[in-house]
Subunit: 341 residues, 2 copies
């Protein structure tokens, strides 16, 4: 049984969407896991009562799997990351993460301010040895299997050594949470030849080739939606957070554009909605912040109840696979190997 | 009447596709313009005879608008850019561009090695004063009007001052060739606030705000397919060539992925092909290399005959709008204004 702390105050549709997401999770998974609702107690209890009296009357009996943990303060989307650490020590983020560092919780899930969640997670959970900066991983749907893109916005100016750290973190995530054996890690560039790219990417290519990882070589933008390059399928795409964030948001914007064009051209919504459902970010829900000692799942600010429910499932899987322990072990092994060589 | 030199030896489907593109242009535009076919004369004459005897028998009489200019050497896709300048002085690229610098041609169009075309164009046509590096502009289709993205791969590590040059070049292109009045220029970043982005982008934001251009502010990846941000529509997207190339190729890869999913789900090809036709790069054909003194149109290596025909139309429009002269004049005006202020 996993104990998952859910930030009820975070996200564009808080508190309704997080509460509904928790209740959807109860409906789908039963009370196998404890969901800890973090935020202003009166707000949470009111919202819970309202939803259990209405749409979620069917799960009223399972609601004992929910607990409520009061947190006085709320981090706004416009707050600077440092607010999560110093300015608002009793925010739902800080309280939820401290539950974990105190051993009373196994994971934290939030659709709130991403920068604040990252800062608070790194500060409260701390980073594994060998990790300079935590990375945001994003799971992107492709024509074949989903791929992990990281960093997706946490770190905008990265060194080659940091990009190699992201590659290691992404490979462990792919193995533990997605079940990919010996995951193939590609480097996003502008041509498949090692000498293509900007200065940082060219140096990173050399480091990855010598890293011991299953290095796929360079990938180009067009390979991501295909999930496969000329050299076969890949699992992880490494890039700096500026490029990753542009990719992620462009990806998000393309499907609605194409759907819009098709609807205008007279294609029936029923024909395309189902087929393209897995391109919706909600189908993934959330992604672990990689490199922290513990589990912190980052959700899209616009998360719907379904997205939150799926993020809770990602949290459970991340806890049960013991991914954070594996990150620590693998980085330690790598360090030992580096020292010996 | 414009005189357009077409590289018959360049591109994945050369010489058939360039020759067919020229003949398509004859069929569509008549003999209003002269098309100069550049490459190995025997190859060109054989291909021309074959196509005029077959698919293009109807334009045999208009074929006098075509001329053939022999060029002994061919630049391969794998050749380094410098080969276009020193290694193969009699390539179809060098010969086509020299026609222009000698006053015998008004524009050069190629689907060959982009790096080589850029190097040869800068070397033979030379750059306008105030331009450090030429930029590849790409026209991307959106849910509304097409937008120009530059640089799309010529310059991977750019300074803020260079990004501002790209902004000026893109604005002139948008005005002259796309007919946009007072074009709105956005800066691609990872958040709309000026303080979002990497170090170069943050500094570029400040420079653009003071540039006298119609600065739209920051754009995010999702704004590109929409063609509009929260602050309204925009015409030009400025980024470095690494990011621009990733964006361009991701864009290229998304539509086929989504079409593939829809076809697999049973949507009829006839329903979607027409609606999505304008997302095909072939509908644009080619884009001017900006910053050179003259006209050099860069086409996709995979260009089909239709793409080449459309690129020839872009060349005519670029010549007739006198874009290159305007670039020179505007940069000189800007220099004068800078000196006075």
């Amino acid at each position: 049984m996993a104990r998952i702390a859910l930030d009820v105050m975070g996200g564009d549709h808080a508190p309704a969407a997080p509460v509904a997401g928790a209740l959807l999770a109860l409906r789908e998974f039963g009370s196998a896991h404890e969901i800890q609702l973090i935020g202003r107690e009166s707000v949470i209890r009111d919202e819970l009562a309202r939803q259990l009296a209405g749409e979620f009357a069917d799960v009223r009996d399972a609601a004992s799997a929910l607990s409520v943990v009061h947190a006085d303060e709320v981090i706004e989307m416009t707050d600077k990351p440092s607010v999560a650490i110093r300015g608002k020590p009793n925010s739902s983020m800080a309280v939820g993460l401290r539950l974990q560092s105190a051993g009373s919780s196994d994971a934290f899930v939030s659709a709130g301010n991403t920068g604040a969640q990252m800062a608070a997670s790194a500060f409260i959970l701390r980073l594994h040895d060998g990790v300079n900066r935590p990375a945001i991983s994003t799971l992107l749907p492709t024509a074949t299997q989903p791929v992990i893109v990281l960093d997706a916005g946490a770190n905008v100016d990265c060194s080659p050594a940091e990009l190699v750290q992201f590659a290691r973190l992404g490979a462990i995530y792919a193995e533990d949470v997605l079940g990919r054996a010996n995951p193939s890690v590609g480097l996003l560039s502008i041509g498949e030849e090692p000498e293509k790219g900007n200065a940082v990417v060219k140096e990173t290519h050399q480091l990855l080739a010598a890293s011991g990882l299953n290095f796929h070589g360079n990938l180009e933008g067009r390979d991501i939606p295909a999930g496969v390059s000329d050299r076969g399928p890949f699992d992880v795409v490494v890039c700096d957070g500026f490029v990753g964030n542009v990719v992620l948001k462009l990806y998000e914007g393309m499907a609605p554009m194409i759907v819009g064009i098709l609807l205008k051209a007279g294609v029936a919504k029923s024909q395309i909605a189902g087929a393209l459902a897995h391109l919706d970010y909600a189908s993934v829900g959330g992604a672990p912040l990689l490199g922290v000692k513990g589990v912190s799942i980052i959700c899209h600010g616009k998360s719907s109840p379904t997205a939150i429910k799926n993020a809770l499932a990602v949290a459970v899987k991340t806890v049960e696979s013991r991914m954070s322990d594996h990150v620590g072990q693998r980085l330690a092994q790598h360090d030992a190997a580096s020292v010996q060589s």
